[in-house]
């Protein structure tokens, strides 16, 4: 039924080339479309385009996985033409809503599942500019460049409190009642901060790589990625597996982006020797067997993808579809390459802005 409805929607769309309204009758419970200017289908994906620093050109694009249709700057279209702001850093989905962190504009916003703004919190100068977010049990946790993690009410975005972590905290994950936060210190920190969510009082610190950037949880395993060195030492881009019991890390390889699906860690390693040409490799790590497989998780990646500057790796948790984002920075809008879970290339679309860095999916 669901599939058929989608198929009909798709057909309808292709036939009219217009709006969805007429085709959505089958979806009896489309509360995400409340107050929406542009009505969106049930199966939705959103792409966050970071934009260029100082240019206020961050935006969110809508992508229809069923039809391949892209609506650029859906945020502006759903919110009376308002711009999202400057340098969008992170976007997550939680309870059917979208949360976007806009670093330059220094706020977090909660959008409906169609992109209509429902709440917003602007961080103060003392709190510092926000970086990344994770949501759990009705709360949103946000890393702040003041060296704190803030807790906000997920519905109202009311600021509740913040806990000091390391310097310039970046990504964070929740695992088993604890927050794990990596601190880059812009090259001068090398710690993982761990906060117990029951108390949310203080953080304990564990030494990991120098200058970490990213953290992800796969099947109760925590993986960390970063530069591995501080300038002027050459960056090594390690990917480390963190052992929660022994509080130690072990290197599993090199990488620049990570994603997860089906107990597997997907890693992209995008490297360059001359700062002009790139080589990109893809590999996986199986958390059950604790084995790394050098075989690419993409089967027939177009050549330009393996020489492009990868800026995003996302997997649709529902069906395992893989999305690889390429940035052209100021030289042009980003491109996204979509693959099926088995690695077959589906197609490519323009991200509708500069520097696609995150996606969320709704079914």
């Amino acid at each position: 039924m669901k599939l058929r409805s989608l198929f009909l929607s798709a057909l309808c769309l292709m036939a009219t080339g217009a709006v969805f309204t007429a085709c959505e009758d089958d979806d009896d419970n489309d509360k995400w479309n409340e107050n929406a200017e542009v009505v969106l289908p049930k199966q939705r994906a959103f792409v966050l385009n970071e934009g260029i620093y100082g240019m206020n050109n961050a935006n969110v694009s809508f992508y229809n996985p069923a039809t391949g249709e892209v609506i650029t700057d859906i945020y502006a279209k759903q919110n009376g033409g308002l711009k999202l702001g400057d340098t969008a850093q992170d976007m997550i989905g939680y309870n059917g809503d979208i949360y976007v962190i806009v670093n330059g504009s220094s706020y977090i916003t909660r959008l409906s599942g169609a992109g209509v703004e429902l709440a917003r919190y602007a961080f103060t100068e003392e709190q510092g500019q926000p970086r990344y977010a994770v949501a759990e049990d009705g709360k949103v946790y946000v890393t702040l460049y003041s060296g704190n993690v803030a807790r906000l009410d997920a519905k109202t975005l009311a600021f509740e409190k913040m806990v000091a972590v390391g310097n310039n905290p970046e990504q964070l994950v929740e695992e088993d009642g604890k927050l794990y936060v990596v601190n880059s210190g812009w090259g001068y920190d090398n710690r993982l901060s761990i906060i117990d969510l029951r108390t949310f009082e203080s953080a304990e610190h564990v030494t990991i790589m120098t200058n970490p950037q990213r953290i992800i949880e796969v099947n109760d395993c925590i993986f960390i990625q970063g530069y591995g060195a501080a300038y002027p030492d050459p960056y090594t881009y390690p990917v480390q597996l963190y052992d929660c019991q022994t509080k130690t890390v072990s290197n599993i390889g090199q990488g620049t982006h990570m994603a997860e699906y089906g107990n597997k860690l997907y890693v992209v390693y995008c490297s360059t020797a001359d700062w002009v040409n790139y080589t990109t490799t893809f590999y996986t790590y199986d958390t059950r067997t604790r084995q790394k497989s050098e075989t690419s998780f993409l089967k027939d990646a177009p050549a330009e993808l393996t020489t492009g500057n990868v800026y995003m790796l996302e997997v649709n948790p529902e069906n395992g579809d893989i999305y690889v984002g390429i940035t052209h920075y100021a030289a042009g809008e980003g491109d996204i390459y979509r693959f099926k879970a088995d690695g077959t290339f589906v197609g490519k679309f323009e991200s509708g802005g500069q520097g696609p860095n995150a996606m969320v999916f709704f079914e």
């Binding site: 260029i52 100082g54 240019m55 206020n56 050109n57 502006a76 919110n79 009376g80 033409g81 308002l82 711009k83 702001g85 400057d86 806009v102 330059g104 504009s105 220094s106 706020y107 602007a122 100068e125 003392e126 709190q127 510092g128 500019q129 460049y145 003041s146 060296g147 310097n167 310039n168 210190g185 001068y188 950037q213 530069y227 300038y231 002027p232 960056y235 881009y237 620049t256 995008c270 490297s271 360059t272 001359d274 700062w275 002009v276 790139y278 330009e304 500057n309 940035t327 052209h328 920075y329 100021a330 030289a331 042009g332 809008e333 500069q354």
Partner: protein, 665 residues
């Protein structure tokens, strides 16, 4: 008359289309009074083999130009990047070649910035400027330093020199000007003839503005009036000049200059986040000395030396920094010497050889900074041939640079030969009609920032290469009785920049790379005319139009391939009219700039709208007693209160006004 004419030539020295070293008449400084040339002379921009444009003091005042940057905006083929406000950065790029390809000279000596490669022309007050000129290629003075040949274009700023009337020994000039946004600038100048062959001049000025100006912020369903924050500036500048003519009629000039400023950097307007806490302090001291001597009718030489010290402190306050504050301190020093000899064996030929040497250093407060030291040697060999209506200028400039660093990789030494050739032809001696052509190849050495900047610097960079071709037609005449004068210039050009140094994004870091390639096709046209009216009144009109197609040819598979470079309008121009009456001078000017892109990709969401800005100026001079004059001036800038941006999210001020008075005695 002839003495005055020659004096005028000497004053204009660097710009005239005549082998100046041939002139054996010396500058008898103590007898100069106001230099006025009554005879109609072919304007420099018409007679020159290289495209040259200039604006003299009178014109600058009549048009109400507020700064050197304001003057340069009125030249054809020039892009001024103006970040808005009185303290906002203003840089000059000639014919889309890039900021670092344009040299700036102040009283004949190059002003440099080895660190960033760009000169903020907003820094130079117009208060003491006699003339601003811009040459594509180089000026045609054979006595100029080798550095004047080494760039694709040169912007020359020449300051006023004191001119004493017979029997006069002291001269004072005081000026106060004030206007919108808390702007006020008083200045004082004193000149004294200390001996029959020696004059001294000292001057000082102060300037401050709070810079808080309103602008409209358009954001979808909301349109709000905001105020520019952290845009204040205060600066002062003192300068001393010495002019001496020896008994052998050789000339010595010396200058000491000090400038200090403190300003807020408002940054780009960031939506929803009004915080702007960046501050910048600047200091610049330089002293320069120049000596010029004519040995014989055939031989002449010029030598100069300069020491330059520049210091700046940048501070940003934000909790993201350790300790809540980031402080960067940079110190640059330059030691510079130059000598030129000129030989004119016959009326048809003049040759010159210029040798420059300079040392640049950079130090800063960063622990692992490489503290580079650069030695540069420039040698320019020039030849000037004239025969009938033909005029040929040939130049070959050799560059050698070597860097030394305290830590990190040392770049390779660089050697390069840059040729240039320009030719002009005047087919009829009765008609001031010229055809001209120019070829020039130059390169720019990577700046210290390009090579050594923390994280993004790349010591493997090669120099950036620029080639210019120009053909032009110029004409000056008085074709009809109801015109006092008419001059027209039209130039078409083709430029190519290869190995362009661009900030290239890599996985996480930006690196400088020799990656870019740009091709520029353009047309510059200028017009000047003067109409007599009844009752001793006159109207001067000028116009300039520029067409530029500056395409990015870097990467055929890139989305911006063959797209117009950011911030480069295809069409731009300006026009002005000055009504001169015995009672009042009224000047009107407009500047029109077409649509541009603020990002590389030429798509609608990256467009910035074009704009037209109008300005109005009125001034009057009064004679007070025998030797005192008072001049009053009032300007309205951006008359129609047009909201526009030159750089995206750096809004320009709306309508503003200024009034000023100058008292000289």
């Amino acid at each position: 008359m002839s003495v005055r004419y020659v004096l005028n030539l000497l004053v204009l020295g660097g710009l005239l289309n005549i082998p100046v070293c041939a002139q054996s008449v010396v500058d008898t400084l103590h007898t100069i009074d106001e230099v006025t040339v009554k005879a109609r002379r072919t304007p420099l921009q018409v007679a020159s083999a290289q495209p040259v444009q200039s604006m003299g003091r009178e014109q600058l005042e009549a048009l109400g130009a507020q700064s050197v940057a304001d003057a340069v905006k009125r030249f054809a083929g020039v892009t001024v990047r103006d970040y808005g406000g009185i303290g906002g950065l203003k840089t000059v790029s000639v014919r889309s070649l890039g900021v670092a390809h344009t040299a700036v000279s102040y009283d004949g000596v190059a002003v440099s910035n080895a660190q960033a490669g760009q000169i903020d022309v907003g820094r130079f007050a117009l208060d003491n400027v006699e003339e601003v000129s811009l040459a594509v290629g180089q000026g045609s003075d054979l006595l100029q330093s080798a550095r004047a040949y080494a760039s694709a274009g040169i912007l020359s700023i020449r300051t006023q020199q004191p001119t004493f009337a017979e029997g006069e020994k002291d001269m004072w000039r005081t000026r106060v000007s004030g206007g919108s946004f808390g702007y006020i600038t008083p200045s004082l100048r004193y000149a004294r003839k200390v001996a029959s062959r020696t004059a001294l001049m000292v001057e000082g000025d102060y300037m401050r503005a709070d810079g808080i100006y309103p602008f409209t912020l358009d954001n979808g369903r909301t349109e709000t009036t905001e105020r520019r924050r952290n845009s204040d500036i205060s600066s002062w500048h003192v300068e001393g000049n010495l002019y001496h003519t020896f008994r052998d009629e050789s000339r010595l000039t010396g200058k000491g200059y000090f400038y200090r400023s403190e300003r807020g950097l408002p940054g780009s307007v960031i939506l929803y986040n009004p915080t702007a806490r960046e501050r910048l302090w600047d200091e610049n001291f330089f002293t320069q000395i120049a000596y010029e001597k004519q040995f014989s009718p055939q031989w002449k030489m010029r030598a100069l030396a300069k020491y330059n010290h520049a210091w700046n402190r940048y501070e940003d306050t934000n909790v993201k920094y350790e300790g809540g504050r980031q402080v960067d301190v940079h110190r640059q020093d330059e030691y510079y010497a130059s000598a030129t000899v000129c030989w004119k064996p016959s009326p048809y030929v003049a040759l010159s050889l210029a040798q420059d040497g300079f040392v640049n250093t950079l130090r800063n407060n960063i622990d692992d900074s490489p503290n580079p030291v650069r030695l540069t040697s420039l040698t320019a060999l020039n030849a000037d041939f004239r025969w009938g209506g033909w005029h040929l200028l040939a130049n070959l400039t050799g560059t050698y640079t070597t860097d030394e660093v305290r830590s990190g990789a040392t770049p390779d030494d660089r050697r390069h030969l840059s040729p240039s050739l320009s030719l002009s032809w005047r087919p009829w001696s009765s008609e001031a009609l010229y055809l001209r052509a120019l070829y020039k190849n130059t390169f720019r050495v990577p700046t210290f920032n390009d090579l050594y900047y923390r994280r993004s610097g790349n010591t493997a960079l090669r120099p950036e290469d620029a080639t210019e071709y120009n053909v032009g037609l110029t004409w000056s005449a008085r074709p009809v009785d109801w015109l006092n004068s008419l001059s027209l210039t039209v130039d078409a050009y083709y430029n190519k920049v290869e190995d362009k140094i661009v900030a290239f994004p890599s996985v996480y870091v930006w690196r400088m790379a020799n990656y870019g390639e740009v091709e520029i096709h353009g047309v510059d046209a200028t017009l000047g005319a003067s109409f007599p009216l009844i009752g001793g009144c006159e109207v001067d009109v000028t116009g300039a139009y520029t067409f530029q197609q500056a395409l990015d040819l870097t990467n055929p598979s890139a989305k911006n391939y063959k797209d117009q470079l950011p911030y480069t309008p295809r069409h731009s121009g300006n026009a002005s009219a000055v009504l001169k009456t015995p009672w009042l001078h009224v000047g009107y000017n407009l500047m029109a700039v077409g649509k541009r892109y603020f990002m590389d990709q030429n798509i609608p969401s990256n467009e910035i709208e074009g704009y037209v800005e109008h300005g109005l100026t009125a001034s009057r001079s009064f004679q007070l007693g025998k030797s005192a004059t008072l001049r009053l001036q009032a300007d309205v800038v951006n008359l129609t209160d047009r909201q526009y941006e030159v750089i995206k999210y750096y809004p320009m001020p709306g309508r503003s006004w200024r009034v000023g008075m100058i008292l000289s005695f």
